[in-house]
């Protein structure tokens, strides 16, 4: 007992360290001795706080380290890691003085599993979309063949918009392009794109919309894997062409859109017909129209011709009949001809004026007259009594 008291007495009170002094010293030693480093381990006891900060432990078979990843650092990640996930973290070892705890302040976190957190986030959102039927190919709407108003949801000063304008002017200059300006990467891009997509329903006479951006890093393009954007695309009132400038990675926006184009230029090509082809098709229709009418007229002509032929044939037959009749008539007329009668021995007497003398009274004595016989005329006179 006394020993104990002695022990306390032997130590000058001012020689004892306070808790704060020890933890401060430990922190200084740890931070000086262990520079920021990469640590490999398995996530355990993950918890995301209301503040947005993440707390978890990193462990291997024998040990574990408490970790914190602040909201300003973790918001760049597409998804939170899950317990049991193998990860690399880059962090600064330190001692939290208020708890006297050795910890790692994590500023970067990579999953070692295939595709990592990005893949995890992607698969999660994709599953949610699939569950609601939004990935069903039967949902996809056909693009209009001849669009007059095309909305373009993209950055107003990006290369994507310039490409879309150039292609549309070349192929289908009759269309009107309506730019719906939006951010396409970084903070606020997701909200901005959702807002722009929500405007589409209020644009009158809209035929089709293109949503997208030019190429960029995976992180730049990640916005287009947002489940919210995918749902906004699915809810658009007109068919949507997605053009997120990356040939290999397919975004959720691509999967939900009615048509996926690998580049903004390709999106404009998909949205528009080639005017010269449409004009050529019109010309073909015009030619068929002309031929159709010509055929119709020809048929009518043929019909008329056939009618005419029948008419002519009928007329000819009638004519023939009449001709026979005339011949017979001619025969009869012939028989009645006075010449025939003269041949049979009769003769006709006429006065010098040519009047036929038919009665005795017309022959006074001394009357000169002419006698017509079958082969000529002779002069004659009635004797003077």
């Amino acid at each position: 007992m006394g020993v104990t008291l002695d022990l306390f007495a032997a130590l000058a009170p001012e020689g004892a360290w306070t808790v704060s002094e020890v933890t401060r010293q430990a922190r200084a030693v740890v931070e000086a001795g262990l520079p920021p480093l990469w640590v490999r381990g398995e996530i355990s006891g993950f918890k995301a706080w209301q503040s947005g900060h993440w707390y978890f432990a990193l462990r291997d078979r024998a040990s574990q380290i408490r970790c914190v990843m602040f909201q300003k650092d973790n918001r760049r990640l597409p998804a939170a890691p899950a317990d049991g996930m193998q990860v690399f973290v880059f962090g600064r070892p330190t001692v939290w003085e208020d708890k006297g705890e050795f910890r790692l302040t994590v500023v970067e976190l990579l999953s070692t599993e295939r595709g990592g957190l990005w893949q995890l986030a992607f698969e999660k959102a994709k599953a949610a979309l699939a569950k609601d039927g939004l990935l069903d190919p039967a949902r996809k709407r056909p693009l209009p063949v001849h669009p007059w108003r095309i909305a373009v949801v993209t950055s107003p000063d990006g290369a994507a918009l310039r490409d879309i304008i150039a292609v549309t002017r070349r192929r289908w200059p009759v269309a009107e392009l309506l730019v719906v300006p939006t951010r396409v990467q970084g903070d606020g891009a997701e909200q901005s794109i959702c807002d722009a997509l929500a405007l589409l329903g209020r644009i009158e006479g809209l035929d089709v919309a293109i949503v997208g951006r030019g190429g960029g890093s995976r992180e730049d393009l990640w916005t287009f894997n947002s489940e919210r954007i995918a749902r906004a695309v699915a809810g658009a009132p007109v068919p949507v062409i997605s053009a997120v400038g990356h040939e290999t990675d397919v975004t959720l926006c691509d999967l939900v859109a009615d048509h996926r184009a690998p580049t903004p230029s390709a999106a404009a090509e998909a949205a528009t017909p080639d005017r010269s082809e449409v004009l050529a098709a019109l010309a073909r229709l015009g030619a068929r129209l002309g031929r159709g009418l010509a055929t119709r007229a020809e048929r009518t002509g043929q019909r008329l011709e056939r009618s005419f032929d029948r008419l002519a044939a009928a007329a000819t037959r009638r004519l023939e009949r009449h001709r026979h009749g005339l011949a017979a008539l001619g025969g009869r007329l012939d028989a009645l001809s006075p010449l025939r009668i003269l041949e049979r021995g009769y003769s006709v007497a006429r006065d010098p004026d040519g009047r036929v003398l038919k009665r005795v009274a017309q022959f006074p004595p001394g009357r000169a007259f002419r006698l017509r016989v079958s082969d000529g005329e002779v002069a004659a006179r009635v004797p003077e009594s």
Partner: protein, 74 residues
């Protein structure tokens, strides 16, 4: 200028006219009427394809949520 009837309807009607002219045994009168309609629709369709350059505009929503369409100079 999303017009009435739509370009697609115009084309559809044109094709129908051509098909009827080609296939049906029509009176010359009916054929002529169809032909004239076809020629008129063809003319209108060509007219609609005559625009010189695609117009580019920009849709802007103000704070009150009203939409405005402005010329775009990008």
């Amino acid at each position: 200028m999303p017009g009435e009837p739509s370009f697609a309807e115009q084309l559809e009607r044109l094709e129908e006219i051509v098909r009827r002219l080609e296939a049906e045994d029509l009176d010359l009168d009916d054929a002529l009427r169809l032909f004239e309609e076809g020629v008129e629709r063809l003319r209108q369709a060509r007219e609609r394809l005559a625009a010189a350059e695609a117009k580019v505009k920009q849709v802007v929503a103000d704070h009150a949520g009203n939409l405005r369409v402005e010329d775009f100079d990008g």
